[in-house]
Symmetry: C2
Subunit: 426 residues, 2 copies
């Protein structure tokens, strides 16, 4: 009644069978598009190859000096999850979780199923290691990026939860309250986060689902967010996308090709903070609900004055083309572009990596949608500086509500054979 017997002797290595089977899919994609390389100078080449090849063929290395998913050309789709550790979880359990996540992330970003048994090659008498819905899909440019929230390093009831209090990065403190914040606890904070970006949403959802499954008993999802379309370019090879206000977004964003600016603005340098964070970054996540209906009833000239850009081509209202530097003296004083500009923010540039989201419809029949803002910076204070310029002043605030917020320390990349836990526990 089962064809399981026809699969060959149970003694055969499931790993070998799983790899060879998936290898067929992976190599077909890679062969057609070339192997896209992520990280450092390889980023630009990766972007070009990815756009030239069939959808989903690109693959970014999991191991390296920095984590992938920061300067990697922003993939089209996102599944983001913040986790809380169980109240009784121990340091050993956290370490074991991070080790298991490392192994799973290294496999999934190569297009392989989680674990040696995969979804179909393990013993029939056991649950599969992998849930299987990405079994026929290529890597789809999947990156998995981990972060640690301030609460991971805190003491609870006078007890150092995981013995990590002394290793807490100095820069990792909860964000201050900003003018106009309407944060909801169910979309705020978290001990850990996973950012899964891919060009196929099923691949991103599969990654978060399987990491969640591995965490069973140790950590549980606190909140999660799907993003259906990127709102930023992080490579000069990418076209500038549009946000749900219909404007090009991220024109002046930091690009991976700006090597020096990336070093200055994104990566934690030696001496900046605790040593284990060198080569890492800080991630700020803000769930920003857009008040779509009000915006859609606003005159075109008013929309453009609020943003500070032409809606058609994204040029600043001070003239020129999309990439012309705006003349801040000419832009409307409260326009978003002006207030967010580095010249008014101590030269700070954030690497933005946000996504359009919609969670369906709210109880009033309004589109429950907006921007899931993600930015990477060398120190969260840089975000705070820019957000203080915007909060309470930006003309766009009339159409926005910040409803969720979190900050995470993003450790450096994991070297071949290493684990997430190495840097954290030292």
């Amino acid at each position: 009644m089962s064809t399981r017997e026809a699969r060959g002797p149970e003694g055969q290595s499931p790993e070998a069978r799983g790899l060879s089977r998936r290898g067929l899919f992976g190599l077909a994609g890679v062969g057609a598009a070339g192997l896209a390389l992520g990280g450092g100078a390889g980023v630009a080449a990766g972007a070009a190859l990815a756009s030239a090849g069939p959808a989903g063929a690109s693959q970014y290395p999991f191991h390296g000096a920095h984590q992938a998913g920061v300067t990697t050309p922003a993939q089209d789709r996102l599944h983001f999850a913040a986790f809380d550790l169980a109240p009784d979880a121990t340091a050993d359990e956290l370490r074991a979780l991070l080790d298991a996540w490392t192994a799973a992330a290294a496999r999934m970003t190569r297009g392989l199923p989680v674990g040696a048994g995969g979804a179909v090659d393990g013993p029939p008498s056991a649950p599969p290691d992998d849930t299987g819905e990405a079994l026929d899909l290529p890597p789809a440019g999947l990156t998995i990026t981990i972060g640690y929230g301030p609460t991971l390093f805190e003491t609870a009831d006078g007890v150092d939860r995981f013995g990590l209090a002394a290793r807490r990065p100095a820069a990792l403190t909860p964000l201050p309250r900003f003018s106009g914040d309407a944060l909801r606890p169910e979309w705020t904070g978290g001990d850990l986060c996973i950012q899964a970006c891919a060009d196929d949403p099923q691949v991103a959802v599969h990654a978060v689902r399987n990491l969640t499954r591995i965490a069973f008993g140790t950590a549980v999802i606190r909140w999660s967010q799907l993003g259906f379309g990127r709102t930023s370019s992080t490579s000069t090879a990418q076209q500038t996308p549009r946000n749900l206000f219909g404007f090009k977004d991220g024109t002046a964003n930091l690009k991976a090709e700006e090597t020096r600016a990336i070093e200055e603005n994104v990566w934690v340098a030696e001496g900046d903070d605790v040593a284990w964070m060198t080569g890492g970054s800080y991630l700020v996540a803000r769930k920003i609900r857009m008040l779509i209906e009000g915006w859609d009833r606003t005159r075109l000239e008013e929309q453009e004055a609020v943003i500070g850009r032409d809606k058609r081509d994204g040029a600043p209202l001070s003239g020129g083309g999309e990439f012309t530097a705006p003349d801040l003296a000419v832009l409307p004083a409260a326009s978003h572009v002006r207030l967010a500009h580095p010249d008014l923010n101590d030269g700070i540039r954030l690497l933005r990596r946000g996504y359009n989201y919609t969670d369906g419809t709210d109880e009033l029949g309004r589109l429950d949608a907006g921007l899931f803002f993600l930015s990477f910076q060398r120190d969260p204070e840089r975000f705070v500086r820019v957000q203080r310029s915007l909060a309470g002043h930006d003309a766009l605030n009339e159409y926005l509500r910040h409803v969720g917020s979190a900050v995470f320390a993003v450790p450096p990349g994991v070297p071949e054979g290493g684990s997430y836990s190495d840097a954290l526990f030292g």
Copy 2:
């Protein structure tokens, strides 16, 4: 302070400018991939061309004998919305809404913005006609499919709401309650529905958002659903996708190429029902939550026994390959494939067009995910017949909860120059 003046005289036809601008994008895509033709015999060719060209280049005609979005090769992404008409909406307002929706749908499926003013070409002193977030995107295979719920034809407080009671299709009645149903009113029913399918989710979301905006004051969204990955193939040119249980789904689904079976099972024939539904179909939507965590702890052999198929290649457990006909005498009696098989359901085949969904995480930290089941059939009774076989018997029910449900009459296609309102109002 604005570059608006540089765009040329306001007297220039915005329509001409809008068309030419978007035309550049549209033609670039079409030129690279060829024009994909939807409907009838063109479907298979369309599918092949779409997969050969760059993502998003495919375009399906809006006008035709049948609505697009039924036998059209299932696109990757979905935004579905059910609407309720305002309590005080009149027949004239409904007719005007349908006329406006027709015009907008015809434009958006060609990759054009809604309305002559578009998102950037109207007068600066007015809100744009289009919200703009799809401005740089190709048609992405967008189809927009409309349906009418039973409540549209009902009397409220003894009053025939829109004078449509006499035009009600005989087959359009609410679905009966099935064993195990756990329906929630907020995901059930609706006067109207719009199914927007596209290969780019931003294009599908843009379509529903703009149709919702047009409906302001007349109709409001009752519920909506995003689907991130198709779970069915509707063309032999498509690979069978996997559902969130990790199994290939829709292997035995009706395919557009099976011209005779489509006529027999999908399209309303002359004499079947009210004349205006000839060439139409009936759409059943079921939001089916999957109890992912329980499933993921189930042994592989048990998973396969529940489904009735091999998890790896989708072959029935009675042997052969994915497309081998199952031997129903050999399959486990309660397996899903056996109980859904036409041989046990009076030969009925449904055209399934469902999508994997996730709405994030529930209050217990579990993935709030499942299958948004959509099927098209000549008569909703055909769905009822099959679902009665499954409800209360299917071994899969242990891992499922039907939480939303709706049925809609899907009118035939709109001829060139016509409107949705023509068939409905006669």
